[in-house]
């Protein structure tokens, strides 16, 4: 990017560089979606189990889930990433950057989704629980047929919000050399010495992804308010 001083100061954004590195950005875009999607699926599973554990009356299960959630939510994702990325090879286990990223993102988002699931379940009116038990359902059937379906509807907006956070968190995976959007920008910068074209293009791609999801979340919230 050059600052060209003529009569007026104009900025020239070198689109040729963007065009030249378009394959890199496209691959990185799909890699970002890939790692976000896989992590989200696993995080949802972890979050569902964790949420159920957190509302459990069993003190041991409840405390284990609480410790997990508090530990993850009080430490930065970067620290968790370093712990996994440097810790596992030290004890001899080697993962690919993709797997390391998925593990770190799953554990991190899983804790936040645990809280979302827990608040969703607690938001279902108590009358539903009482009615189910009075019909004679056991805990498992009550959860499966009555409580969880209603909780699921409640938690969709915050879940979409959490997936936006997840997509933005993938940018830290550039540190462990996984070629997602931020790493693509770094590659462009390293090869062409054009930081603007690299980082701004990545920023625009992230913005498009997140903007679409944020609008979708707002649409879902409005629909929920109608009901």
């Amino acid at each position: 990017m050059k600052l060209v001083k003529k009569e007026v100061i104009i900025l020239e954004f070198n689109w040729m560089i963007v065009k030249q590195y378009l394959p890199v950005f496209r691959q990185a875009f799909f890699n970002t979606l890939n790692v976000s999607g896989v992590s989200l699926v696993f995080a949802l599973i972890v979050g569902l189990i964790g949420g159920l554990c957190k509302i459990s009356k069993n003190k041991i299960i409840h405390n284990i889930a609480s410790i997990y959630v508090n530990a993850i939510r009080s430490t930065p994702l970067l620290a968790q990433l370093y712990l996994i990325f440097f810790g596992f090879p030290y004890i001899g286990i080697k993962f690919s950057p993709f797997v390391t990223g998925v593990i770190a993102l799953t554990l991190n988002s899983g804790a936040y989704i645990t809280e979302i699931v827990r608040s969703g379940i607690e938001a279902v009116p108590k009358g539903q629980t009482e009615a189910s038990l009075s019909i004679g359902m056991n805990y498992f059937t009550m959860m499966r047929r009555i409580i969880l379906p209603q909780a699921f509807v409640i938690i969709i907006p915050p879940l979409v919000g959490q997936s936006v956070v997840l997509i933005k968190d993938t940018c830290l995976l550039s540190i462990i050399a996984y070629t997602e959007l931020t790493r693509a920008a770094e590659i462009v910068v390293a090869n062409s010495f054009a930081p603007s074209e690299g980082y701004i293009t990545s920023a625009l791609l992230y913005l498009t992804l997140c903007f679409v999801l944020m609008r979708f979340s707002r649409y879902l919230e409005k629909r929920q308010k109608k009901v």
Binding site: M1, L3, R73, Y82, A185, A203, L207, M214
Partner: protein, 219 residues
Amino acid sequence: MNNIIEISQHSIPFLVKGLGVTAYLALISGVFAVIIGIIAGISRGSKIFIIRIISSIYVTVFRGTPFLIQLYIVFFVLPSFGMTFNVLQAGIGTLAFNSGAYIAEIVRAGIEAIPKEQSEAALSLGMTPFLEMRLIIMPQVIRIIIPPLVGQLILLVKDTSVISLIGIFDLIKVGRELTIASGENPIIIYTWVAVFYFVLCYPLYVFSIKIEKKLKLKY
């Protein structure tokens, strides 16, 4: 076991210094972020089109892009525009603006939660919009937004770790350098890093729960 104690004893003094840097970054950025967030949050609902549009674009852009990308842009791209910052300025400034965008959303949600009757009553008393904000709306808003605000400040403390990637020697960078320099067990060192972040963040979390209970009782 002795090995663990030995490594811990060697690394903890350095980690504590890093913890000081992290706390300093978080404090300065936090103060600026709250100020920026309140201004942007109020501007989001402004009747003046240009103020509303600028603050909306600011909030959308800073909430829709990762903090690391924002940091890289401020540190590597802005110099082409003539604005050069050192690592500390770039880190604190970007963090303040990043968290400010989230705080703006929190403030806006708080303002929209105040019943419209309050606003109408204030204006019918002859208050200017500025007085209405200062005397009626904002005191009620501040009470409502304290729990999510503290939550955002916890995220701010954790985001200071990302600033280490442009070179600031905060807690996590100290941990990383210790691991590389000494080649010792990274699990022990990073666990201590996590413990120190926990010591910084968990009290804030407990504080937010206590404040939420206290504010609920006041009603």
